[in-house]
Amino acid sequence: MRVLGIDSSSLVASVAIVTDDVLTAEFTVNFKRTHSQTLLPMLDQMMNLLGMDLAEVDAIAAAAGPGSFTGLRIGAATAKGLGLALGKPLAEIPTLEALACNLWGVSGLVCPIMDARRNQVYAGVYRVSGGESGWGFGGEEKTRLPEIVVDQCAVDILELINRLNRMGQPVTFLGDGVPVYEKQIREHMTAAFSFAPAQNSRQRAASAAALGLEYVKLGRTVTAAEFKVNYLRKSQAEREREEQMAAGSMNES
């Protein structure tokens, strides 16, 4: 089975082809150029290098959120457009679950964090050390889904740290939230922790594609039209309106 992975949920733009257990190609750029200008040319170049036609892909896995609202939509629109034209199924990949998969095999907890501003991070806590979900003895077929300890959410950084401390297990952090909140992490973490190395510290489409392949095996796919972005946050206008209405109803009562 062959899956195209797309991740443009952060400053990183990344596309990859995973064929069964092998990463066939990956193109990742973390540089200040808009995804709108990079993503499709990258895909085009990658497919040209491979001499492969997109029609040879069985499914498309794209980071479906959280992340930069615009970045997510560029990735989603690209995946939806490809899916529409090719008639292929899509997999909605939770951004943080894919990030956790960058560190597949690491023991303890893995905690990807993305800067969500306003002192918050988008975060999730996962176990990716195999265990029941991944390690099969005697050639047993097992899926490689991360075990979700805390599902992805928008959370205050100190609240996240407290929660991890209470769990009391070693944590590996990764994601673009690390440089932003490194000081708080170093100051407040009482559990053992480390940070992921460069090759694994940011989004990469290989993880989205590999996870997508597991999703496809489990039948967790949608049509291109059905594919939805999960922002984990309402728009500012919606939040403000709800606050106003809540304040208004309190005044009335």
Binding site: Q37, L40, K80, G81, S235, A237
Partner: protein, 345 residues
Amino acid sequence: MKIHTTEEDVYILAIESSCDETAAAVVKNGRQVLSNVISSQIDLHTLYGGVVPEIASRKHIEKINLVIEAALKDAGMTLQDVTAVAVTYGPGLVGALLVGVAEAKAIAYAAKKPLVGVHHIEGHISANFIEHAELEPPFVCLVVSGGHTHLVVVKDYGEFEILGRTRDDAAGEAFDKVARAVGLGYPGGPKVDRAAKEGNRKAVHFPRAKVDGSPYDFSFSGLKSAVLNYINHAQMTGEEIAVPDLAASFQYAVVDVLVSHTVAAARELGYQNVAMAGGVASNTELRAEMKKACRKAGLQLYYPSPVLCTDNAAMIGAAGYYEYINGTRSGWDLNAVPYLKLGER
């Protein structure tokens, strides 16, 4: 330029998402609309008194595949039957534009079709080609909408000379602001138009702004301020405001300037044909007054029916056809350009 006579018919799949309508259409040979699907978000934005860019972008990504699939189905076509994909890449709300642009690029890429980036205003102007088979450049076109007020000479297909533009608010923006001030709500254009029908347009005389040295430019912020001052003054002196009279007087002031500039441009520059485009071009008073003035001046007037005046993808398909025929091709790095100028690439 003469249109190349192509032996094969050209079918353009067009996508438009520059503001608050998600739209797709299939257009044959630039003038025949085979399908025109529009998913409007207007009710949603009414809650906020105007278009909220983030909400618009979220709706676009939610609806875009359904809209495109419906456009192909209505046209009785598959993607393989399409000659090229055209998409609005500016001007407009950047987040909204990006959805259509990324989607169109991916579709064109995967279906191995040429991609044509289209200017939104060129789309509005080209809406006139759809319903008026006899209309051909050159002509003078007034483009008036919530975001744009331009007086343009369409010299040829895809070739424009901008005679004048607004220096401040777009005409439609002035309608929205005045509608909000008098409590008519959003969207202002149709609401003011309706209220004005019951009013006396000569009840209040509002100023008609001239821009020094630029006879074809527009300015509506002075008029908007005059209306707001009038309302403030009435409120302070406890006078009751007759909303229909106010709406009619304001609308007349806008229409008067739009009509006089357009007709003057056509006469002074010697063009026989005049066209209107954009959402405000469906304003009933503007249509009536422009018709009257053109008849008096011996000019031929064209304007699209209301559904083709507001944002739609059929107009992008019409413009996309002429760009395609002219050899315009966009790369896979096509980006949204929120302040794209007419005639620039």
